[in-house]
Structures are given as structure tokens and as C-alpha cells.
């Protein structure tokens, strides 16, 4: 599979996961507030279900932010590299970020194994913790691969707000999605 196609698959997985998780989070909280207003008490476990949705959105949303180049980055030291080195500097940056994600994916996998071994469960809903913690492993792994692809194929790298504003950034923020 070509790198661009692989990135598109990652993007699709993360988009679907974010939509489902956001729907779960919003629905759980709205039902909870609605029930509290109507019958005076919330829905058992609804806030916890909302939290699970939030965990999934934050983890898979991280991938969407990566593919849009939207991770917050101070760029005031960008000028220390000679102008001609810009491409190489971004390749080195992406390789470093990829290593960071790979490192944390491994550490998170160790935590998941530990939780599985101990039989940890969530509060109220009493669900096993390890499948939920696995979301961290999955999200970090996808990002590690994504950044290694960026490092090897700089043309696929997105340039976000920290690298100078592109029209699509403004379009994404603006009402009706119009770039002006």
C-alpha cells in the first residue's frame, strides 16, 4: 500500500471513531441532564459513558490534528536553521515526533498488560479498563506510523498554523467554511 493511501485509511478510521465517540459523549450527557430535569435524578453511568466517549475523541482526534498539522508548536526558534535546510529540519522534526509516539505506544502497551493482569475495572459501570486503555496504544501507534511516513515523504506533510497560516486553516475556523 502506498504511504498516501495508508494515511487516508488512518484518517478514515479516526474520523469514524471520533464521530461515534462524540455522539456517545453528547448523547450520554444530554440524556443525563434531561433525566435530571424531568425526574430529578440522572441516568446511572451516563457521565462515565460520556467520559469514555471523551477518551476516544481525544485519542483519535489527536490523529486528525496530526494529519492537519495542528499540534500546538512554538516556532520562535525555527529561524536558527538556514533557509535551505527547511525540508530537512521538518524531516528531522517528524522523525523525532514519530519516535516520541512509538515510545509512548510501547509504555502504554505495558500499562494495558498490567491492567489486564490485575483485572482493573472502571468505577460505576464496572467495565474492564484494559480495552479502554488500549485506545491510547492504538492512537499513539497510528500517530507514530503517520509521523514516520511524513519524515520519509515530506511532500505528504501537512503545514499547519505553527508553520504559517494556510487558507484551509482559516477556512476550517470560519463560518460556512469559506476562505476569504
Amino acid at each position: 500500500m502506498k504511504p498516501a493511501a495508508l494515511l487516508a485509511v488512518f484518517d478514515r478510521i479516526e474520523r469514524i471513531a471520533c464521530l461515534l465517540a462524540f455522539a456517545l459523549m453528547a448523547a450520554a450527557l444530554m440524556f443525563d441532564v434531561g433525566a435530571r430535569l424531568v425526574r430529578g435524578s440522572g441516568v446511572l453511568g451516563a457521565p462515565q459513558a460520556g467520559v469514555i466517549g471523551m477518551i476516544a475523541v481525544s485519542m483519535f482526534g489527536m490523529g486528525l490534528a496530526s494529519s492537519a498539522g495542528e499540534h500546538l508548536r512554538p516556532n520562535f526558534l525555527d529561524g536558527i536553521w538556514p533557509k535551505g535546510w527547511s525540508r530537512a529540519a521538518f524531516q528531522a522534526a517528524d522523525a523525532t515526533t514519530g519516535l516520541f509516539f512509538a515510545l509512548f505506544a510501547v509504555i502504554a502497551a505495558l500499562v494495558v498488560a498490567e491492567s489486564y493482569g490485575l483485572g482493573d475495572v472502571t468505577s460505576v459501570l464496572r467495565w474492564p479498563v484494559w480495552p479502554l486503555q488500549s485506545l491510547i496504544v492504538a492512537a499513539f501507534s497510528l500517530n507514530a506510523v503517520r509521523y514516520f511516513i511524513f519524515a520519509l515523504n515530506p511532500d505528504l506533510r501537512p503545514h499547519g498554523i505553527a508553520d504559517g497560516v494556510a487558507d484551509e486553516d482559516v477556512a476550517a475556523l470560519s463560518p460556512k467554511g469559506e476562505a476569504r
Binding site: 450527557l29 443525563d32 471523551m54 499540534h71 528531522a92 505495558l110 497560516v165 487558507d167 482559516v170 475556523l173
Partner: protein
């Protein structure tokens, strides 16, 4: 010696163009490996503990509600009504711009979104009415900053999470400073444009625009009034905000279809994906620092060198202004609030008051070169040079600093409704 290595590591990461998330993650890992018992798993356990907080649910939900309302026609309807109301006032369109930013800020919670939502309509209108371009750009950039000061404000939620301060109290305390800033911006807008006349009141226009805005106008009252009156927690208010936003924009105004709702949700997920990892690693680092009693040691060390509350406020504000110029507000709040708030408390400053000072101060950073986010966004939105926009925002930076001094000197401005 280990501290020096940590500084070298962070500087190397800056030079290697790494995101804030990577710096915080590696700093937390370094801290646990070098100063603790060397188990890297603690960082992930901290992340898990951090993300498992119900209070954090307010952030994605307020962001989604703001995004839905930004995509719909709420800004357009709000502006039309305010223009009709301020028409006979000299410089009324300038005043309407400031008030529209304030009104939209009470819904969006974001500076850049407020700037773009109001700016997309008002910039052209101001120029067509003969207003100075510099004033128009400055007013819209500064008005956008109200988005993070007027509740619901994401930076205020982050401050509350990091310092264990009541988010409801922070929201309530944000109201007074917001009124001060709106009054300062409004007074400047009127003074500078006093010679401009738009026309006279038209009763039919007011009624027509009011009817169009009838569902948009009560939104801030429902969302914030619910919190102020104690009907909702901030998290519940955020869920209500999403429900109301969908109801108004999809079912009543019919400005958003399901496919646009999907796009808005994905955009919000992307923004969250940029914010949450920073938040989680910052909390991990904060848990470590708290465990090692670093804030207490920092307070003890600072008390040796800082003699008075005034000196502390001066020092803290200068530090925050400098930091706000080079780091985004979210990261600055996450990194600095756990260290500065205990110090502020040791000088008798209420943590809610200090939180407001911090957000207003860092809000100035949206307008200051080299990295002011609203300057960068305005460059693309209004197709103007960095220098033009930097000059345009200069008077508003002074107004914000005047407001900041007032807010810092008079705690009642923030605290008069709290408790």
C-alpha cells in the same frame, strides 16, 4: 545537574520544531525516570487518571456548541440586530462591532472563531461605511479576544482543572472583567468614530431583526444563566449548549444539515486532538510536581525574593505578558497555573481572581507579535500584512493593559458576583 539536562532537552526539542505535547511528555518522562523510581509507566497512569475526569467533559461539549453556532447564522442575526439598535449612535457601527464580538464570545469560547465569525460580516461593512481600515482590523482582533474572557471560556476551564478551582466561580468572575473590557473598547470605538453617522432608528428594522435573532439572543442567558443560577454544573451547561445549538441551527434556523453537522464535529475533534494531549501530559507533569512538593518549594523560594503582593502582581504579570507573546494560551495556563497560583494564594490573592488576571493577561498575547494568534488569523482573513495588523492592534493592546491593571488592582471587579 539533572535540572540542567532537562533544560537542554527542552531547548533541543524547541530547536527540533517539536509540538508542546512532545516537550511536556518527555519532560514528564524525564522527571519520573530521573527524580522518581524510574518507572515510565507512571506517566501513562497519570494520563489515564487525567483523562478520566468528568469535569473535562465541559471542554469538548462547549467547543462543539461554539462550532455549531459559528457555522450557522447566529453571528449574522446577532449583528443585524445590534446594527439596527446602534444605528443613531455616532460611530454606531464601530460600537455594534464590539458588542457583536462580546455577544458571540458568550457563545463561542474561542478568540479566533469570534474574530472570524464577526469579522467575516463586519470588516466589509465597516470599510464600506468609510471606517478606517486600521480601526476595523484592530477592533475585530481585540474583540475576538473577548471570546476567551467571556464565559464559557476554554482557558478558564483549563485553569480550573489545573488548580482545582471552581469552574462555575471562574465563569461568574469572568463577567465583570468582560464588562470592563467591552466598556473600554466601546468607549474607544465611539471616541475615535464620533463624527460618523449611520442614520436613525427604524422601528420596523428593529422588530424584523429582533424576530430573526429571537432564538440567538437568549442563548448566552440560557447557558450562563443556568450556571449562575445554580441550575447546571458547567459540564451540564455544556451538554445543554450542544442540545440548544443543534435545535436552533438544524431544526429552527435550518442553516445546518446533517453533513455539515458531521463536518463541524470532525473539526471540533481535530481541535480537541491538538489540545487534549497537551492537557494530559501537563497534568501528568503537574501530578509529579505536586507529589515532589515543587509548588510549595517554589512558593518558599519566591517568598524570599518577593516582598509584597504588589511586587508579586507586577512580576507575575510581566512574566505572563512575555510568555503570552511566545506560547499559546492553553499551554501557558497548563504549565504556569499550578506554579503561580499557590504563590498568588500565599500573598492573599484569591485563586479565582488570579485565574481571571492570568487569562486576561495571556489574552493580550493574541494581539502581540511575533506569535499573536489573532494577528496570524487576521493576516489570512483580511489579506493584510503582518505590519499593518500589528499597527492596527496597538491601541487595543494599550486598552487591554489598562483593563488588566484595573482588574488586578480591584479584585471586586472579578469577585463581586462570586459566592
Amino acid at each position: 545537574m539533572e535540572g540542567v539536562w532537562l533544560v537542554v532537552l527542552v531547548l533541543a526539542l524547541f530547536a527540533l520544531r517539536q509540538p508542546v505535547m512532545v516537550m511536556l511528555g518527555l519532560a514528564a518522562l524525564f522527571a519520573y525516570m530521573v527524580w522518581n523510581d524510574g518507572d515510565p509507566k507512571y506517566v501513562v497512569y497519570d494520563i489515564w487518571q487525567a483523562v478520566n475526569k468528568e469535569v473535562l467533559l465541559a471542554i469538548p461539549l462547549f467547543m462543539l456548541a461554539g462550532a455549531i453556532m459559528s457555522r450557522g447564522s447566529i453571528a449574522d442575526r446577532l449583528i443585524a440586530f445590534l446594527r439596527a439598535l446602534t444605528r443613531p449612535v455616532p460611530g454606531g457601527l464601530a460600537l455594534a462591532t464590539v458588542l457583536a464580538c462580546a455577544g458571540f464570545a458568550a457563545i463561542s469560547g474561542s478568540a479566533a472563531v469570534t474574530l472570524l465569525a464577526v469579522g467575516s460580516i463586519m470588516y466589509k461593512a465597516l470599510l464600506e461605511a468609510g471606517y478606517d481600515k486600521g480601526f476595523a482590523i484592530g477592533a475585530l482582533c481585540a474583540g475576538g479576544v473577548l471570546g476567551i474572557i467571556i464565559p464559557p471560556s476554554i482557558p478558564l476551564i483549563l485553569y480550573g482543572v489545573m488548580t482545582d478551582t471552581s469552574i462555575a466561580d471562574l465563569f461568574i468572575a469572568g463577567l465583570g472583567p468582560a464588562i470592563v473590557l467591552v466598556a473600554l473598547f466601546g468607549a474607544y470605538a465611539l471616541t475615535r468614530n464620533w463624527s460618523r453617522h449611520e442614520g436613525s432608528w427604524s422601528f420596523s428594522e428593529i422588530v424584523r431583526t429582533f424576530r430573526r435573532a429571537a432564538f440567538a439572543l437568549p442563548l448566552p442567558i440560557i447557558i450562563l444563566g443556568g450556571i449562575y443560577a445554580g441550575f447546571f454544573t458547567p459540564t451540564e451547561a455544556a451538554a445543554v449548549a450542544v442540545a440548544v445549538a443543534v435545535l436552533v441551527e438544524v431544526l429552527i434556523h435550518r442553516d445546518l444539515g446533517l453533513s455539515e453537522l458531521k463536518d463541524v464535529t470532525l473539526e471540533t475533534s481535530r481541535l480537541l486532538g491538538g489540545l487534549f494531549p497537551v492537557l494530559l501530559f501537563a497534568i501528568s507533569l503537574n501530578i509529579f510536581l505536586t507529589y515532589e512538593q515543587t509548588p510549595q518549594n517554589f512558593v518558599a523560594a519566591m517568598e524570599q525574593t518577593i516582598d509584597s503582593k504588589l511586587q508579586f502582581l507586577l512580576m507575575a504579570n510581566i512574566l505572563l505578558l512575555v510568555v503570552g507573546m511566545v506560547i499559546d494560551i492553553g499551554s501557558a495556563v497548563l504549565i504556569l497555573s499550578p506554579l503561580l497560583t499557590p504563590l498568588a494564594q500565599s500573598y492573599g490573592i484569591d485563586p479565582v481572581h488570579f485565574g481571571i488576571i492570568m487569562i486576561v493577561n495571556l489574552g493580550v498575547g493574541y494581539l502581540t507579535p511575533p506569535l499573536g494568534l489573532n494577528i496570524i488569523v487576521a493576516m489570512a482573513a483580511f489579506r493584510e500584512s503582518f505590519w499593518t495588523i500589528s499597527k492596527a492592534v496597538a491601541p487595543f493592546i494599550l486598552l487591554m493593559l489598562a483593563g488588566l491593571i484595573l482588574i488586578a488592582a480591584l479584585p471586586q471587579v472579578a469577585l463581586f458576583l462570586v459566592g
